[in-house]
Amino acid sequence: MTSVVRALRTSGQPEPRTRINDFAFKIASVNGTGSSSANDLIKKAIFRMGIPVSGKNLFPSNIQGLPTWYEIRVNRDGHTARTPDFDLLVAMNPATYARDLAEVRPGGWLLHDSTWPLPRKLVRDDVKVLGVPLAALCNEKFGGSRERILMKNIAYTGALAAFLDMDMSIIEQLLGESYSKKKTLLDSNFLAVKLGYDYAREHYECPLPIRLERMDATADSILIDGNTAGALGCIYAGATVAAWYPITPSTSMIDAFQAFARKLRRDPETGKARVAILQAEDELSAVGMVLGANWVGARAFTSTSGPGISLMSEFIGLAYYAEIPAVIFDIQRTGPSTGMPTRTQQGDLLLCAYASHGDTKHLLLFPADPGECFDLAVRAFDLAERFQTPVFVLSDLDIGMNDWVVPRLKWDDSYRPDRGKVLNADDLGRIERFFRYVDTDGDGVTARTLPGIHPKGAFFTRGSGHNEFGAYTEDAKEYAEVMLRLSRKALTAAQALPRPEIRKTPGANVGIVSVGGCHRAVLEAMEKLAERGIPTDYMRVRAFPFVPEVRAFLESYDRIFVVEQNRDAQLASLLALETGFARARLGHVGTFGGMPLSARDVVESIMKALEWRAVSETSANGGPHVPADDAVGTDE
């Protein structure tokens, strides 16, 4: 570890005595023991107190019995990216005591179940211990082993409420909402909360120096995960067919779509569904269904993760070449292969950009948070139909499955779907003859027709060689004509895609580029870097292929760092390929171990790189082997 890094690591020590609305804590428990509802309760209570908050759920790829963690960060300035520095740890899982304790910052606190004596593994002289006999308290009041286990978790919520000065009325209110119909559950839950709360206040000086205080920063916000928001976007965009195959972390998006559809997509008279949700036999079939549905004119989508994209590759090439709209959500997880299904990564950028054999290029959208999952879902359908091609929405496990604070979702009732160049019966009646792939206006986009509309609209969709008339061909000239038009179409499309978000700082000669879920960590890192006298400019790309201004940004700095969550600098690769800018001059900064990116990861790597002044050379030959990589990769 370099001096800079060590400096950083301990920076701000010793802690200021009290820190209001600016701290983080972590709850370690066993999955399948219902801790998640307890954690949600805490997170929501803080949100209702008007304080920016975020929760990162680190769960195993397993149903019951393995370690699981939940990280909650509170930050009055709205910095809700993950932080690896924990002030307090709730140790509910003996199996992970040692490693959990190690994560507490010097001077921090440890909350444990003092029903049993404090185990050696939980002793650290620079960590204060908060013992609450959760089991004892609950065994006294509750019968039934299952209930006792569940209530133990609710009880630590109460203890935390006391230690952190949570608003009990809000907790009461929240419990009331969840158990409105189950009085007994309501009572037992509230009782459990009280048990922990009262015990803490009786035995400790509450609140701790790290504490909460009502503020008004979340009034116009909601707390939502990206899969739910994305599903809602599909409902609002008018999607009528969803085809999918279960795979973590995308499954919850279809679950949400199904739930919304049950409420919002029923025929008032018959109660029948205005949507078809098809659980396919695998991902090849799922995307095939999406193509079929789009071919007849329905707005159809699928949601999957890396392995699914690999399996869909052949069909994606068909959609590209036969020009069939398709919306594909890739909720990225840690690859390659099965990898770590419950960890996050941005590892599918390169795959999605050029998926399938032969010359192909696809449209990609990069939401940075759940709010954008909603907006870009709608946008994706418009783009897919307008450009008659697959559109990928690249979310990830962190965005898709964790709750983020985002501005309330807005909807413009004047919105109407952009169906692109689709000829209706009248159009067809008027024209002499219809040819599917003739580019009349030079934008690379040609008119299409839907089956069943008009005899004159008939054409033959094929993945085999075809000329502009849609006829089969093996002629080089005719084939090339169509292929070059497809390249033209991509250029037109790039202009219609969401523009990059660019932020300038006076005097900056370092440029940072990032994508998707890295956004919040980068913004926080920029502040930290500025504090250290390193002003930076910033560009977040929101879509692929890139517009010329992306290249312009790259060209305006001595040093460029591309921040992304993968090993091989995939965004940097796309930038190098599509802008022509030298890959060697794009420094790679990022993590790829499956943990959501933190500002510290970014600051450390950039400081280190600026120190070593060696990034470009190293990355030149070694490709991804920027030392920063290694450091961060193994820091986690």
């Binding site: 009528t240 569904a273 095939g288 007849v296 807005k410 005899p455």
Partner: protein
């Protein structure tokens, strides 16, 4: 090379159907298959069946995978949309298309390689969903387009053109479909148009997955002595059951001695009349049919005809509980809940 359009000289003499169209109006582009290929005869039977059924050409949607057989969707009903997709994955395309627009009349054309090798999984699951489509397997026991390798439907002992004997047991789409609960199962022969046409007509009317396995000899690679998918072999071993198709509202004229005939009414009121079937053969008794087929098979006889039909089976949309109207026809207003609803439902995220 652009496709070869057939000269469309209309003979005034040509009979016209209820839509005032002649059979020529149901033709497609010129076939590029080998002269004598069984697939071309099937194409002709399809043209006749659609013409006689008076279906509006543009209401048909033609789907196929990849193969000589799959090419044929271009050779019939040129005024309907066709989708020549990828190898073995047409069933999923059909499923999605049907989900989006349930009113189109879907016909899928596939081959034994396309459906029983690479596409077997999708075929089985489309059958399971009972997707409303007439699904044809133009079965020649080989991969024609890739020059004659054995397919999964090649019988044990059947000889390749090079003389190799196939040793692996065949996958029989008919017994497979019956096992999987298919609601309409038929086998026919490209050389028996008289039998094939009524089966196709009934298949178009069936609400659900109508599987028709059609033995269709490949003259280039599998029509030689020793092949069990040749014209000769099929003619010699064929045990044809005959069924007439009487569309709804057409009165039933033909009549036979009782016992000799059995009529099944389709969901839309049209009737299928079975004749030349063994005494008390019951085309609605799945097990009986399976037993009968296996018994004949043991004497290496190939039973053809409309073998099994269950007109009452729930198709995919019934199972999904979707609205009657095609989803593609729903106005956006019926699909988008609007800003107010959005405001309300966001309460749960506070």
């Amino acid at each position: 090379m652009t496709y070869i359009v057939k000269p469309k000289v209309r003979h005034p003499s040509l009979p016209i159907n209820q839509l005032g169209l002649t059979s020529r109006d149901y033709e497609g582009v010129m076939s590029t298959l080998c002269a004598g290929c069984g697939h071309d005869s099937i194409t002709a039977a399809i043209v006749q069946a659609v013409f006689e059924s008076s279906i509006a050409p543009h209401r048909i949607a033609k789907l196929s995978g990849i193969g000589c057989s799959s090419k044929t969707t271009a050779y019939f009903v040129g005024q309907s949309h066709g989708f020549n997709s990828v190898h073995g994955r047409m069933p999923s395309i059909a499923t999605g298309a049907n989900a989006g627009n349930r009113e189109l009349i879907y016909v899928g054309v596939s081959g034994d390689g396309d459906s029983l090798s690479i596409g077997l999984g999708q075929l089985c699951h489309a059958i399971r969903r009972n997707v409303n489509i007439l699904y044809l397997i133009e079965n020649n026991g080989v991969y024609g387009l890739t020059k004659g390798q054995f397919s999964a439907s090649a019988d044990i002992g059947s000889k390749s053109k090079r003389g190799e004997e196939n040793q692996q047991p065949p996958i029989d789409p008919v017994s497979l479909a019956l096992t999987l609960g298919a609601t309409f199962v038929a086998r026919s022969f490209s050389g028996d148009k008289e039998q094939l046409v009524p089966i196709l007509k009934a298949g178009f009317r069936h609400r659900g997955f109508a599987l028709v396995d059609i033995i269709s000899p490949c003259v280039a690679f599998n029509d030689h002595e020793g092949s069990t998918k040749s014209y000769m072999y099929t003619r010699e071993h064929n045990v044809p059951l005959v069924a007439d198709f009487i569309p709804h509202a057409e009165e039933i004229t033909t009549s036979y001695e009782v016992g000799d005939v059995r009529a099944v009414t389709m969901h839309d009121g049209s009737v299928v009349q079975f004749r030349k079937v063994p005494k008390n053969y019951d085309p609605t008794d799945r097990d009986a049919v399976q037993r009968y087929l296996r018994d004949r098979q043991r004497d290496s006889e190939v039973v053809t005809g409309l073998l099994y039909v269950d007109p009452s089976g729930a198709d995919m949309h019934t199972t999904l509980g979707t609205v009657e109207r095609p989803l593609t026809d729903l106005p956006f207003e019926d699909l988008c809940p609007g800003s107010e609803a959005l405001e309300k439902l966001q309460k749960q995220f506070r």
